[in-house]
Symmetry: C3
Subunit: 112 residues, 3 copies
């Protein structure tokens, strides 16, 4: 099992949800975040130069999936979240050791 | 060490906090999230059918624990977060390689 | 690759951002959270005693880095987030298996 985390543009959320749903991924958690991704904004000042980290509003999707769903989930996010402009976002994949459904106590793949 | 993440109903937060405190778990981080968990809402439309992913407000608890605390923490969450209805939530367990207390620089189990 | 998560005081965010930027870390995600960290607030009551988990506003930074950047990132956070008072925060380090830049499809270290 893996935990897939995607940071996307808020404007792409509806398209990403639809793409995930189409491939059968319905369990997901959404967090409003802000972020910075490598770009450097240079602000000229009266004396010298100052470089600032500006933050942009993003949406974070967290999706726990069984191993056979990893690639299909990533592909669904890539095709629906991409606009081609800088700032389209990032996908992270992390190991997930256990999953438990609170209502039933079912574990791992049975809980996904 | 493990990172335990639980997505629960906001109405159960007070009960879960109390249950965690009783077993000695006091370090935790809380995030307001929204989520979807497997249910499919079908919306009949004029032509055809549309399936929607509705999101529900949830609370996410992140709890870093030493290995001996994993089971007791999970049990405390299960017993306090469960109402028996669909949507009670999920628990995820992930590996945690290092923990550092910023104030003292203490590391790993000494920092928990 | 590692995912470094730091929970810090909101008042220290500007200093932490500057310290990270100086060591070359510019990709990061910020989440507003609340948390509790080990302290026990005792509330005397009419009959008996009640112990409460009070929550404090914190900022969570999530930073995906390549292995050579782990120590420099942790050091930058430690030196800029520390005030010396209780509640300065925690740093967590977790394994990160894959990273993908959505715009280009670049993977892993090329995506960081
Ligand atoms: N290394 C990182 N660690 C944590 N979060 C990151 C990292 N890089 C990017 N993010 C998150 O992803 C969001 C979008 O990043 P972004 O798409 O700008 O990445 P990028 O690598 O700069 O790619 P691009 O060149 O297409 O802009 C950021 O606002 C931030 O929230
Ligand atoms: N696979 C998943 N990945 C990420 N988050 C999830 C996943 N499944 C559920 N969640 C989160 O947990 C919340 C509660 O899920 P829920 O309890 O409905 O899970 P479920 O598996 O559908 O169980 P039930 O059948 O009891 O409803 C969701 O709103 C979402 O935030
Ligand atoms: N074990 C933990 N799991 C998850 N989050 C934690 C944990 N411990 C602390 N946190 C988060 O870090 C924040 C700051 O914690 P804090 O600095 O009080 O840790 P501490 O171990 O009590 O150190 P100190 O003794 O310096 O207060 C908390 O509000 C919480 O959000
Ligand atoms: Mg960028
Ligand atoms: Mg459900
Ligand atoms: Mg504390």
């Amino acid at each position: 099992m893996k935990l897939i985390t995607a940071i996307i543009r808020p404007e792409q959320l509806a398209a990403v949800k639809e793409a995930l749903f189409k491939v059968g991924v319905t369990g997901l958690t959404l967090t409003r975040v802000s972020g910075h991704g490598g770009e450097r904004e240079v602000i000229e000042q009266y004396r010298g130069r100052q470089v600032r980290l500006e933050f942009h509003e993003k949406v974070q999707l967290s999706i726990a999936v069984s191993d056979p769903f990893v690639e299909v989930t990533i592909d669904a996010i890539l095709s629906s979240a991409r606009t081609g402009g800088v700032g389209d976002g990032k996908i992270f994949v992390q190991p997930l050791e256990r999953v438990i459904r609170i209502r039933t106590g079912e574990a791992d793949n049975d809980a996904l």
